[in-house]
Point group: C2
Chain length 220, copies 2
């Protein structure tokens, strides 16, 4: 949240927070088709969002962690258009959207904040489109790992150590690859000494090498 707000403004902003809600691992926070009422700020835990095509295929559209907001997809049609599934026991702040709209009319900082959150999501998705549209398997996985560790680091975790909350299949769905390809690509990274992998525990040994994979260097 931006700084420089009066106490009065801060109090008003607190009002957008309704109840809290706990979601068990594997349960959904909301599902495609459900009525949209609120945005959810993740307090603890880890989520994936996914959409399903008519014929059973589904696509993971993102992984969200503490401090991030889910539910923006529901605003257009007053109904959610994707599922949000907890990948571990989680807790969220329920923020009724009509309250958000009401208060953001009075508190400029909140209005600005809401706009930025939505715009940030649009920009994030642009990045995913670039990944899905033009990267090879190694680049996709390297990009994914760097993004994940960067977000975790911003929350006070290690820059080189991370525990995956999702399966290979979920990573694959997000990256537009099959789970076997994820597994093989991890193995290749391990062979090359770039990372160490023990199940879902990943230790990034050589961050620079990952960056080089994402951004193939034009060595003459």
């Amino acid at each position: 949240m931006p700084m420089g707000l009066s106490q009065e403004e801060l109090n008003r902003i607190d009002e957008v927070i309704g109840t809290r809600r706990k979601i068990k691992r594997g349960a959904t926070l909301f599902r495609n088709g459900e009525k949209f009422t609120s945005l959810y700020a993740i307090r603890t835990g880890f989520f994936k969002t996914r959409i399903a095509s008519e014929d059973g295929r589904d696509q993971v559209t993102g992984f969200q962690m503490a401090g991030e907001v889910v539910g923006l997809d529901g605003i257009v049609n007053d109904h959610h258009s994707c599922d949000a599934v907890a990948l571990e026991d989680a807790e969220v702040c329920v923020m009724p959207f009509d309250r958000i709209e009401e208060i953001s009319r009075e508190v400029n900082a909140l209005q600005r904040h809401v706009h930025k959150i939505m715009s940030r999501e649009i920009v994030r998705e642009h990045g995913v489109m670039l990944l899905l549209g033009s990267m090879r398997a190694e680049e996709r996985l390297a990009t994914f790992l760097l993004n994940l560790v960067q977000r975790l680091h911003a929350r006070g975790f290690s820059q080189s150590e991370l525990v995956l909350r999702m399966t290979r299949e979920e990573i694959g769905s997000f990256l537009g690859l099959k789970l076997e390809t994820i597994s093989r690509t991890f193995s290749r990274f391990v062979e090359e000494g770039i990372v160490e992998v023990k199940q879902r525990h990943v230790h990034i040994v050589n961050t620079e090498a990952l960056r080089d994979i994402v951004n193939p260097k034009k060595s003459s």
Copy 2:
């Protein structure tokens, strides 16, 4: 725009519209890195938005036509993070964003409208992610054609006739395919009598067949 507004409200909303601006074919409305000031409502013409990765590859993130809004990417960081390029001579309404924020504090309908536009873009991108992440070439192109013709139809154009404003290469970039693949896939559709193609002029002969490609039927 939603209905049921008072004259006063309508007048207020008109105030978000600043100047108009003409963009010649091939010129950019805004570029990655430029300061963000305004959203743009397309009055006439056709745009593509694209992002570029460090190493020259780029990804078309969308095609926009009359009535659609571009520039939402700029809100987060006060700078644009993609380019908007006119694919034909175009005209846009410049809508300074601080005016939008100001007036949407007073006019609920505008506030709601802005939120919906942003949410719609997020949902649209989810669909693109599904396409890029899990569809084969034929499905991608079929989806693309159906989406394009549906948007054109909503604007009063034919349901079966369309003129592509973009090159095969641009379609390919958007769909995560090479231009040769686009060309070949068009040829296959023609062979199968699904469409007729003469350069950029496309006549959809069999819409149902396209739908079947998008949504493989589970024939026993």
